[in-house]
Amino acid sequence: MLRNIFLTLLTFVIAVGGGAASVWYALNADDGFDTLRVGAWTAFPALGTPNASPYAKAAAARSGVLALGHAEGIRFIAKQDSAGAALSRNCTYKVAGNTPPARFWTLFPADPRSLMPLKAKDGLPAKLQSWAVLRQADGSFMVEVGPHPAPGNWLAINGSGMMALALTLYDTPAATSSEIGSVELPTITQAGCDG
C-alpha cells in the first residue's frame, strides 16, 4: 500500500518537476530555436513574429520585450569573438569589417543575459552609430571595444565578467532577404587582456 503511494508520488514528482525544469532549461538556453549564425554573430529573425517557435514565443512573453519588426531592422548578438572565446569585459576587442547595406546601424556592449546596454563611466562612449563612425578609405571600419582609451572609434567598458555585443541594422534589405545567412558582418578579434 505504502509502496503504491510512494510510486504514484514518484510519478507525479518526475512529471511535474521534470516538465517544469525542462521548459525552464529550454527557455534559458542561449542557442535556442530559430537562430541564425553569421560568423561570431547570432540573429533571431523570427523572434516576436507569429512564425516564431513556441519556445521563442514563451521566452518573449516572459521578457516583456517588443521585438523589432522586419521592416524596422534586425539585431545581431555576439557573445564570443571570431575565434570562439567568450567576450570578457577585461579584454580589448577589435570589431572590424563591413556591414550589409542599411540606413544606419548601432553597436553597443550589453549584458550577456539580459542584453541590456552596459553603462560606461561618466562621459565615456558606451554606444556607437554608423553616422558617427570613422571609416577607412575603403569604407570599412574598425571599432576598438575595451577598458583602455583608443584612438579612432572606441567603446568604453568597465567592470569585469562576461559581455555581449549588439549590432543592429536599421531599415535594411538584409532583414527580409532570404539570403540573410550569407551576409557579411564585422569580425571580432581579441587584442589583449588585463590581468
Partner: protein, 180 residues
C-alpha cells in the same frame, strides 16, 4: 521492480505532457508581458514612453540606447485607430503588435508618404467602410489591415546624438493615438 520502472516511464511521459502544456500556456499566462505592463501605466489610446518607471518595473524594455520609443494600446472594437504626428525626425519606425506582443506589421519613414507618420489600423470590415468614403483626415494615411482586436502600436525614433534629444522629445510627445 516492474512497478518502479512503470512509474518511472509514466513520470517521464507525464513530464513531456507537462512540458508542452507549460510551453503553450506561458504566453497567455505571463503576467509581465508588454500588454500588462502598459496596462499598469496608462489606459488605451495614450502614448506611454517606453522604459517609463511607473511601478516596480519599467513598462517595456527599450530596444537600445540610441532610440526613444512610445507605445499606445488600442482596441479595434471601439473603431479604427488613427496614429499620426506632425513634423519630421531623422528616422522613425513603427510596429504593430497583437495583444501577446507578436509583431504583425512594421514600417519605416521611407515607406510613408512624404516621411510623415500617419497610419490607420482597421479590421478588414472596417476598412471596407472607411474606403467607401475616405475622410479628409485619412487622405494621406497608410492603411493597416489586421484581424487583431486588441493591440499595441509602438513608435521608435532614432537620436543620432545628444543635440537631437530636445527635438525628438517634442516629436514623441506630439504623437497622437486616436480611436474612430
Amino acid at each position: 521492480m516492474g512497478k518502479f520502472l512503470l512509474s518511472l516511464v509514466l513520470g517521464i511521459l507525464g513530464a513531456g505532457i507537462v512540458h508542452i502544456v507549460i510551453l503553450f500556456l506561458l504566453p497567455s499566462l505571463a503576467e509581465k508581458g508588454p500588454w500588462q505592463r502598459l496596462d499598469a501605466a496608462a489606459g488605451h489610446y495614450t502614448f506611454v514612453p517606453v522604459n517609463s518607471q511607473n511601478g516596480p518595473s519599467p513598462t517595456i524594455r527599450p530596444i537600445e540606447p540610441f532610440f526613444e520609443e512610445a507605445a499606445c494600446r488600442f482596441d479595434l472594437k471601439d473603431g479604427v485607430v488613427h496614429i499620426h504626428a506632425p513634423g519630421h525626425v531623422p528616422f522613425w519606425s513603427m510596429s504593430v503588435y497583437d495583444r501577446r506582443g507578436e509583431n504583425i506589421y512594421s514600417l519605416t519613414d521611407r515607406t510613408a508618404t512624404d516621411g510623415d507618420l500617419d497610419l490607420v489600423i482597421a479590421t478588414p470590415a472596417q476598412l471596407i467602410e472607411v474606403k467607401k468614403d475616405i475622410p479628409d483626415d485619412f487622405g494621406k494615411s497608410i492603411f493597416v489591415e489586421t484581424d487583431t482586436g486588441k493591440g499595441i502600436a509602438l513608435v521608435r525614433s532614432f537620436i543620432p546624438d545628444g543635440s537631437w534629444t530636445p527635438g525628438i522629445d517634442r516629436y514623441m510627445k506630439s504623437l497622437v493615438c486616436q480611436s474612430g
